[in-house]
Assembly symmetry: C2
Homo-oligomer: 382 residues x 2
């Protein structure tokens, strides 16, 4: 087991009705004016906005609205949000939505406290030294962003999708009410399942040290995702399945499963970030395409762990059977497993390979993932 530090000061408020106390949580932190970040107007149509506005109003917290955040969130929107936050002197950011909204909120929180252009925090030209406090009300379970200190944003001009991380970016309070997620479409449900599985397997397969305890925790998360996704496809109103799915998504990336693992990396995310930067594919859909292809290429490097995965997740004997079982499961639930399903053609591969090299550098794995290797993986996903 590797040495590690685990420090995760996010307060999770999980369950029905928890959003009604958002005003109290902001008041507890002395917040009087907040930038409320969200995506579409759905939260206004379905009544969530009113619940939040009422709760904040009761505690005298003023709202500055910042709507229109899109999936695969973009740095232009972050810049706009920073300007709004500064103009109105907000004291905190409240994200209402999924990972894209929360990541925009985190980038905004850091950008407000940085004098240069916020993208410099992503490229490594500058580091985050402070951020406004961030609060979240989740309407989608997938990214795990609600209980970690990372954010991923796309620069639509340079076509780069990069991440930031800082101890200042842990949300102060994240509200995870599974009932707020019952409107998620079937497509986004299955993409989210792929996303959580991707978060789970990256360290599980790539870590140079992956203790058995941590492997067991990862398998607990993956098996829960598989089971609850199937339950939710049958019955989107199954609260228990929705809740366990949501908590599995949080646990997949809050430090619990990978504390003590060493030398792991995020190659699937590095390749997928290029797909969504270039083609705006849903992140989870990109991941379900990349994962089986990557696994086929990678499995000889860590055969024992792939056999473990095969046995403990799908009850099959060999590494190859385990990979096939995951791919079949993705096909069964209806998340894509080939680039063609994303509208990506063979002629697009050189551009993806070139773009992915930057991601490999930012994840520190460019030595393994050369252009040839990235190309090999992508070809097997055509």
């Amino acid at each position: 087991m590797d040495n590690f530090t685990l420090f995760n000061p996010t307060r999770i408020e999980f369950g029905t009705g928890k959003e009604q106390a958002i005003g109290q949580h902001l008041a507890d932190h002395g917040i009087k004016r907040v930038l409320l970040c969200y995506g579409s107007d759905r939260i206004k149509r379905d009544g969530l906005f009113d619940v939040i506005a009422k709760s904040l109003g009761e505690k005298g917290v003023e709202i500055v609205e910042c709507g229109g955040i899109v999936s695969n969130p973009v740095i232009a929107k972050v810049r706009e949000a920073i300007a709004q936050a500064r103009d109105h002197c907000v004291e905190a950011i409240l994200a209402v939505g999924g990972g894209s909204v929360l990541d925009t909120a985190k980038a905004t929180a850091a950008g407000v406290r940085y004098d240069g252009d916020v993208w410099e925090l992503f490229t490594g030209k500058a580091t985050i030294s402070s951020a406004l406090p961030v609060f979240a009300i989740m309407t989608l379970a997938a990214s795990g962003s609600e209980m970690n200190n990372f954010a991923v944003v796309t620069n639509e001009e340079t076509r780069e999708k990069l991440f930031i991380g800082s101890p200042d970016l842990f949300p102060k309070v994240s509200i995870v009410n599974p009932e707020l997620m019952k409107g998620v479409s079937r497509s986004y449900l299955v993409y989210s399942a792929a996303d959580v599985i991707a978060h789970s397997i990256e360290a599980y397969f790539t870590a140079s040290v992956h203790p058995k305890l941590q492997s067991r925790l990862v398998e607990s998360v993956i098996n829960t995702v598989i089971e609850t996704t199937e339950a939710l496809i049958k019955d989107p109103g199954d609260y228990e399945a929705r809740a366990q799915f949501a908590w599995a998504a949080t646990l997949a990336l809050n430090g619990t499963t990978f504390s003590g693992t060493a030398g792991f990396s995020y190659p699937n995310h590095a390749i997928e970030h290029s797909l969504s930067a270039l083609f705006s594919v849903p992140h989870g859909a990109g991941l379900s395409v990349v994962m089986p292809a990557w696994m086929k290429w990678y499995c000889r490097r860590n055969p024992t762990q792939f056999e473990r995965f095969a046995a403990n997740v799908f009850g099959v004997a060999t590494a190859e059977q385990g990979i096939a079982a995951l791919e079949n499961w993705f096909n069964k639930i209806g998340t894509p497993t080939h680039l063609s399903a994303l509208g990506v053609k063979e002629s697009d591969l050189p551009a993806i390979v070139e773009n992915a090299q930057g991601n490999m550098r930012s994840f520190g794995i460019a030595d393994i993932y050369t252009p040839d290797v990235i190309s090999t993986i992508l070809r097997s996903a055509l």
Copy 2:
């Protein structure tokens, strides 16, 4: 899944050499004078005290020593530590030891800030409103106290063993270096294994709602404890086993496994606390006696979960076989499974039953655990 709040702000510093940075951690919190709580002089003989003193000295942190804390720590010692802390105006408490030392430190931290007698915080006569910051360097993995906000202390006059809990009692930083645990005796290793298993099964079996995800996490912890205990019996120098054992112990009681479970209680602890309050038996040894007896009495109330335990921990078919397998495993590793092994006789039962009623009340389960029930359970452990 039940609604829950998860907030755990303890920073865990896990791994080799981490104790060398203790001075920095205290300095980061602005501490200039600390009460250093410990048990026997072993930490002086084995060099740990010197490492700590050097690290604190380098950061200008003055030490006030408070040694001689015993297993099943007593309130008299807490009162002594509070007096010392006040006399020397310490700004924090540093525990160096196992759960007993840390629980003494937590009780002291709360007691210093309370004007009345500290035992009133245990009996419910008063509540904790503030505490000195607590830091820990663990030399035993068992209690989970390093990453939670509870402490258990015995009042040797009234023969009560009670607990306190408060958000103020989370350690600020807990250092868990498995190398510091390699001197733990075989006896204390197996008692610790029983303790961690007890922490794991209380909610697992008694919760009115125990989601499958959480059950999987608990089984991950228990299977790891079984595996690593056996490895450590064979080779006490097995660092990997020691590390996974330690991390399993922390996870068993830091909120991860029981968030979202509902209506659970601690009947095994409630009975065991009477055994250790009256007979000073090691806590883990008391638990390995109580657990099989309690399981035999309780299993008809939750047959599905007991069958799950049987299958997923011991690979056997029935609830009864699962209980027998756990009892056999306790026998195999050498932690007691009968009261006689603790020197407790049938004639002692009335006193235990009477004492345990207070614990049942403090755990809120006196309606189920009547004197007759407690007596029945204890009789089957004779």
